[in-house]
Symmetry: C2
Subunit: 212 residues, 2 copies
């Protein structure tokens, strides 16, 4: 669908990929409801009718993009984290990689593949349920790591769900501000935020050394 051009920049290839690429940008920039099919067509450089040759309707455009964002999340975060048995190391990798993922694909106006995972009212109930199920699976994946740490006595006295929501809120919100100024590198920012997140939840002795 989209291809990395070496330095983390996403490059659209075929026409259909161009459509999805610009749709993602516009949905984030203006919101799903405000960005029109004409806007997308204009950004691609074709007419609205031509766009409908590739896309059945606007809702499926959003649905496919959300699934694509979740695919990336699973590849870049869940898959590598699943191989780590130590829950502290696993949680660290989750936070760091999710942050890098959010920041890496940032455009000038937001992150197309993260921010609109929560477009309100964009999807009809049928589609919405499928996306919600995938989001819940990810939430549980993060929460399980925190539960393991709590059961080992390695966390402060926090409810695992509250801790997970706090963590994910911090991460997702990053898509709204990171990448605006280049004073710090993305890696630096992700490291600092990983430290903030881990220290908030884990007891000092358990926080890995680079974030201690």
């Amino acid at each position: 669908m989209l291809v990395y051009a070496g330095d983390g920049v996403l490059v659209p290839m075929s026409r259909i990929e161009q459509i999805y690429f610009h749709a993602a940008q516009l949905f984030v920039e203006k919101g799903f409801a405000v960005a029109s099919m004409s806007d997308i067509a204009e950004a691609v450089g074709i007419t609205k009718a031509a766009t409908y040759h590739f896309v059945p309707n606007k809702e499926e455009l959003l649905f496919n993009l959300m699934n694509f964002g979740l695919d990336i999340l699973e590849d870049d975060v869940v898959k590598p984290a699943s191989t780590i048995e130590d829950p502290a190391g696993r949680l660290t990798l989750i936070v760091k990689n999710h942050l890098l993922n959010v920041g890496r694909m940032k455009t000038e106006t937001g992150n197309p593949f993260t921010i609109f995972l929560d477009e309100p009212g964009g999807l009809s109930p049928k589609y919405r349920e499928a996306i919600d199920a995938r989001k819940r699976t990810y939430f549980e994946f993060v929460r399980e790591s925190i539960i393991a740490l709590r059961d080992a006595g390695h966390t402060h006295d926090v409810d695992p769900s509250v801790a997970t929501f706090s963590l994910l809120g911090m991460i997702i919100w990053m898509s709204r501000w990171a990448g605006r100024r280049n004073r710090m590198s993305l890696d630096q920012i992700a490291d600092e935020m990983t430290g903030i997140a881990l220290r908030g939840i884990l007891k000092p002795a358990v926080v890995p050394t680079p974030y201690h």
Copy 2:
């Protein structure tokens, strides 16, 4: 505009207040672009034309609501925090009160006075600038407390801006999930999150006792 009915529930009084009240709920629920003036009128129980007797246009409805939300934030967070000289105590009050504010006014579908402080593409540039300026002022207020703490050697090695964004992301995101289940009280949730936020940024010795 709106009045508290003792237990934190907002009650609309006059007709114009009813309009703003239901508009706020609908904007959060469906998004600004999707919620129509007819929806609002129907919720109030009058016709769309009658609504326009009180409101000049849809955009100013959103603009006024955003300003109202910022007014509340200043009353409930900035004003009381400004009287506290100790920066650790001040930051603690900021986080706790902002969280209570976000959680208290939660409806079934979201927080009318917080979540849409960041409606994308809702406002035209002219109005948007005024809102952005007020948001920036609040951001700086939080950031200054963290800078004071860093200069006193009381924080971990974090950039004050990154720390502020992390903090606010966590808080704002709370509006999307808090209030769904009642396993924990709002005060309990706010306390736990305050702890997570403060521990992430402040050195253990400086974190106030209830959150240590």
